[in-house]
Amino acid sequence: MLDFVQQLVSGVALGCVYGLIALGFVLVYKATEVVNFAQGDLMMLGGFFAFTFIGMMGLNYWIGFAAAVAAMALFGMLAERVVVRPILGYPQFSIIMATIGLGYFLRSVSGMIWGTDDFKIDTPFSQGVLRIGSLVLAHDKLSVISATVILCALLYLFFNKTTLGTAMRASSENMLAAYYMGIPVKRVVSIVWAISAAVATCAGVLLAPITFIHSNVGLVLGLKAFPAAVLGGFGSIPGAVVGGVLIGVIESMAGFYLAEGWKDVAPYVVLLAVLLLKPEGLFGLHLRKKV
């Protein structure tokens, strides 16, 4: 039983990271109907930025964290301006390819800048553990879980309660109509990219104590975040986190109870099953085209 709970907690912590990356997908998808295949790589880059500020320049953890988030928000806007804006409105395939190319580029360039070694960021949560009875919970995992909950709640409120959030939802439904209604669609899109890059950075920094930062981490985790986003129904903020947690738990349970090899495949098997049985996901809206 204790094993089970322990696996459950580490699964939830891992799942929260997937959820955070999936949140990035969902944000961009919600606002622009673009699926950003480079989301994992934005996370990786955020981790490297934080490593540079904290590990190399010796800044305080929280200041370094904030600086990395700010820098990545700017970077997200830049990426949107250079890569995505010129092809908004073209078929999805072009945009998917463009973001795959962007991911490739970021991965290789950060490999060139920071090398291919594993990096570790010293965090205030690296050491401590919380003991509840005989259950041992590491602080780094708890920090991931609580940060995910806070971010998810903030983003949910932002999207549903603020004017800017409403504008984002409007421009995702129909960019042209939103534009006619006086919504500055271009600015909205670029803000969304900034937010999603910032969320990705949070994921990257929180992840650093658990799995190390290296140039391929984005590809590995980014691809695991897809099942999370799909399971939650692409386009639902709580859905992304719930999906991420489910995928994380499934993965860690499969790793513990099933034969070797299932751990890596399980998320994709679940994904295919979800796509087959309920393509709109757990929280997705089921929409039909009216002719």
């Binding site: 290789s108 291919t116 439904e173 295919l272």
Partner: protein, 383 residues
């Protein structure tokens, strides 16, 4: 400029619209046939890879370019073809048999993948095919009794009609070329048949195709099966060319390379597959060449513009250090993809058509001829 006067449908779907085509393709074929006796063995080897990649490119074009179903899982189909060949070869099955069996099996699996794909569109389909490819990769690594796991399988030289054909021999090249040409001709014929027209109709608008009486589900599955089968054939050749296969060769990376093939070549014409394959196979030797020679060239230019010997040597070593950085190839790949999507979405073949039209219409050419329409209203979510 030549005006083609078409009087009936037969004229419209002719494979060679006029004699110019026969001449130019005849010359191309002749060049390809004498190539092994002229080119170096390294270039020949690259040419074989061009043939294999182009075959996969044609397969992917059928699915992505003409039926509109994006797939990032073609490395898995290639792997299934390659492993079937390697497995059957162990039991002394003759080449023609396992070649056909590999294609048939891959086609069958393609159809099976196609069924769930019926309900999926756009991004969901991409994700589903990625998952499929991951699962196949993991199965190949774990099913050790058949695939030998991560240790990989050796593939013996193929023997055709009792003659052993080594992977570097001209005969092997001719075999790959024959497969490519047959695939292209077959695909051209397929595309001008009712099936091909149904594919294109589905790509352009599924709703419209359905209301015209096209059985969308059937044709999507067909498209998946045909595309997978061709990829399976290519997989057999791929296995023989490499003579050793292991699961880590068939990763997402390879699937992305295949997509790059058609993206760079152009997704609207079979020419694109071939041009893209040439591009992706030849970029490697080209980058290596740059890596070796670029420092010298740049230092030479610097010296001509009055840099001293000391600073020229300095520049030389700096450029050399930059060129030998590890991730440079990946960065260039990524950059190429982004630049093509942004500036030449029609690919290399589109560029060629534009240049051709420019000279045909000179001085009346308008850039707007090839301008794509942007659609801001269509929400792909509510299809």
């Amino acid at each position: 400029m030549r005006f083609l006067f078409k009087t009936d449908y037969e004229d419209d779907i002719r494979l060679f619209p006029h004699s110019g085509y026969v001449v130019s393709y005849g010359v191309l074929l002749a060049v390809l046939l004498i190539a092994p006796y002229v080119l170096s063995s390294y270039l020949m080897s690259q040419l074989v890879f061009v043939c294999i990649y182009a075959t996969v490119g044609v397969a992917l074009l059928i699915l992505t370019g003409f039926t509109g179903q994006a797939s990032l899982g073609h490395a898995a189909f290639l792997a299934i073809g390659a492993y079937t060949a390697a497995y059957l070869q162990k039991y002394n099955v003759p080449f023609p048999v396992y070649f056909l069996v590999a294609g048939a099996l891959t086609g069958l699996i393609g159809a099976i993948v196609g069924f769930p794909a019926l309900r999926l569109q756009g991004i969901y389909l991409v994700i589903a095919t990625i998952s499929f490819a991951f699962i196949v990769e993991e199965i190949l690594a774990r099913w050790e009794s058949v695939t030998n796991g991560n240790e990989g399988m050796r593939v013996k030289a193929l023997s055709l009609l009792g003659v052993t054909v080594s992977r570097d021999s001209p005969t092997f090249y001719f075999l790959c070329l024959a497969v490519l040409v047959l695939t292209i001709v077959g695909t051209l014929n397929l595309l001008r048949s009712p099936t091909g027209r149904a594919f294109v109709a589905i790509r352009d608008s599924e709703t419209a195709a359905r209301s015209m009486g096209v059985n969308v589900a059937l044709y999507k599955v067909k498209s998946f099966a045909i595309s997978a089968a061709i990829t399976g054939f290519a997989g057999v050749l791929f296995a023989h060319k490499l003579s050793f296969i292991s699961p880590e060769m068939f990763t997402l990376q390879l699937s992305i390379e295949f997509i790059i093939v058609i993206l760079i070549g152009g997704t609207f014409s079979l020419h694109g597959a071939v041009l893209g394959a040439i591009f992706i196979v030849m970029i490697d030797p080209f980058l290596t060449y740059l890596k070796d020679d670029l420092p010298g060239i740049i230092a030479g230019i610097a010296a001509t513009f009055g840099a001293g010997t000391q600073s020229a040597a300095n520049i030389h070593s700096k450029v050399a250090a930059f060129a030998s950085l590890n991730g440079l190839k990946g960065a260039i790949y990524g950059l190429i993809i982004v630049l093509f999507v942004l500036f030449e979405p029609l690919g290399l073949y589109g560029r060629w058509l534009k240049i051709k039209l420019f000279f045909q219409l000179f001085p009346l050419y308008k850039r707007a001829t090839f301008k794509r329409q942007k659609i801001y209203v269509k929400s792909e979510r509510n299809r």
